[in-house]
Amino acid sequence: LSVHLSQQTLADELMPPRLSQSEVELNSNSNSSEDARTKATFQKVVEVFCKRDIRRRGHVEFIYMALKKMPEFGVEKDIAVYNKILDVFPKEIFVARNFIQRMFNHYPRQQECAIELLEQMESYGIMPNNQTKFLLLQIFGIKSHPIRKYQRMMYWFPKFKHVNPYPVPDPLPQDPVDLARHALQRIAANFDARVVVYQLPMTELTEAGKESDYPYIVGIQSPEQRSSLAQHNPDRPVFVEGPFRLWLKKTCVYYYVLRAELLPPELRVGKAIDPERNFYYPMVLDLDLGRDRLDDMEFDTDEVEEGPVFAMCMAGAGDQVTLAKWILGLQETNPILSQTPVVFRLSPGPRELQPITGSDDDGEEEVFENQHWKHEL
């Protein structure tokens, strides 16, 4: 063994410093075209580094570099890769052996490096597993700073894992229609609401040889919205507004809303019963029984008043033609829409890449009769 060791030391002395080699390797791997930036390549580089030298000279620098390069290789959310990097640390050397070493920061550079690795895991939301724990115990021993960091992560991560009452699936659905369905169900906040796919995305080749795109249209409407739309006065217009943003983790999607303006207060009163209709007993009883001042849980503030929302949709294109198709689809379940004027109040959304020809002003309003459009379409 001693002979072998001495040979190794000799080899160490003869070879150029490790740091530059490993660095070059990582860079060359990321630059060369035949070695794609994949998990396999990344793991291979780590293995090559581990095999090269029994002392793992320059491993702290190597680990920092590897952590920096992880997003490039697309492995920043892979716990196996983090464990692999942690495995680069030589084992049992940095374990504190007595209380003085434990009291002072034993091998501070190495401990900081491991903490940095755990912190990167934390920022990507990766929970350490048992292998991480064993590796850390083997490398730094119990009561070291990285183990403390591990313990804190294991305490807080499960506490906040399910804290979001409206969880977003991870990963998000790739298909835009599925994504739209999920997003609409999320914002509708109603389990009775029904999602309707009015049009699936497709590309059609016309006879003239021109390609025409049909963007997807997915809408949602709840029974309550349908009944409130049925009670809507057809003389008052309804509005298609949008696009509005919705964030699902790091993805931004846009939705459109069909809504009416708030009724003026004189029309809002509705069916108030005339108190003189019956002189013998009251027609309305509003006794508020069993309510004490201590049961008054109302906030002393005026609610924000806005017009009712009748339906929502998400579409592959935010232009008026696409949204008119949505309105046409809505007419099948809401016959009143065929008599109601629909006004499009669209702000130039981020999806509309080509400039609007004609008028460029924001929120241009165009009133049209639905029957007319039906004819055209």
Binding site: W156, R186, W247, E305
Partner: protein, 300 residues
């Protein structure tokens, strides 16, 4: 009544001893007390070594205005104290189940808030606060940008936040919000699906606790509907300089200074949050737990 005046006088004398100016000179001077409390300095900038006496802005006009304001405040405090707790009658204070602390109906309501973003540390995020449609709500909007400032030291960036201003009473003493009769924070908001963090700053007992914050998360669903979010105060966890602490304590609900919202979800792009009101309630349904985080002495 007498005790109140004595108490005031005691604090009054003490607070000016701290600042090293006499009682009579205090009001004549501005800029001295209102020095920024933050110790953050951008990497690469030189420390501000201007002597204190250069920052003093001495004028008798200031003194007159200041004294007028302070005497008005102390008069209000005495009158409120005679009326009952927080200037309302005792019965009213006892039976109230809900309270609206902040609502946003005019520009004056917005003036009590400070908006900040990582532009302070050299980042590129932007945040603005305006009134919403029909002056019915506050609209906090802007763009989040996680580009790290190229100063060689900063490693992370990308936050936007909004915080209520500190409350000061007569003679520059601290005013606290006393929320100890409530157990739930109640917000009516409309977001765009981004998660926010609610931060509560309580008065530090020792000065080294001045960076302590109590935080919890708020997840607006997004979409066209307003939603009510209730957060029990016991859920708030203690953090200091953005790090969760090992030892968790219940918030001192009678020593609350500010409340704020922070966005930092690492997603580049525009954001918006509309706030109707921020209130408190006694939620009878929430009686179960006193404190959800372990409080036993852990292995040192």
């Amino acid at each position: 009544m007498m005790a109140l005046v004595l108490n005031r006088a005691f604090i009054f004398s003490r607070c000016h001893q701290q600042n090293g100016i006499s009682i009579l000179l205090g009001p004549c001077v501005t800029g001295f007390i209102s020095r920024p409390y933050s110790t953050y300095r951008r990497p690469g900038t030189k420390p501000d070594n201007t002597p204190h006496w250069k920052t003093i802005n001495f004028s008798f006009q200031n003194a007159a205005d200041e004294m007028k304001k302070r005497l008005g405040l102390i008069k209000k405090e005495i009158v409120d104290h005679c009326k009952g707790p927080e200037g309302r009658s005792f019965v009213e204070w006892m039976v109230e189940q809900t309270r609206v602390v902040w609502e946003f109906r005019n520009q004056k309501d917005l003036d009590g808030w400070v908006v900040s973003s990582d532009a302070e540390i050299g980042g590129k995020s932007e945040a603005y606060l305006t009134l919403g449609k029909n002056n019915q709500s506050a609209l906090l909007y802007g763009t989040l940008n996680t580009d790290v400032p190229r100063d060689g030291e900063t490693r992370r960036s990308g936050y936007c936040s909004m915080r209520s201003k500190l409350q000061w009473g007569a003679f520059n003493q601290k005013n606290f919000y006393d929320w100890s009769t409530f157990n739930t924070l109640h917000l009516r908001v409309r977001g765009d699906g981004r998660p926010w963090m609610v931060n509560i700053y309580t008065d530090p007992y020792y000065s080294h606790q001045k960076d302590d914050l109590y935080n919890y998360f708020m997840y607006p669903r997004g979409g066209p509907y307003w939603e009510e979010i209730k957060i029990p105060f016991s859920k708030f966890f203690l953090s200091s300089r953005g790090r969760i602490q090992d030892n968790q304590y219940l918030m001192w609900l009678d020593k609350i200074r500010t409340l704020g919202f922070t966005l930092g979800d690492k997603a580049d792009g525009p954001f918006q949050l509309e706030i109707d009101f921020i209130g408190l309630s006694k939620d009878g349904a929430y009686t179960g737990e006193e404190f959800p985080y372990e409080q036993y002495k852990r292995n040192p």
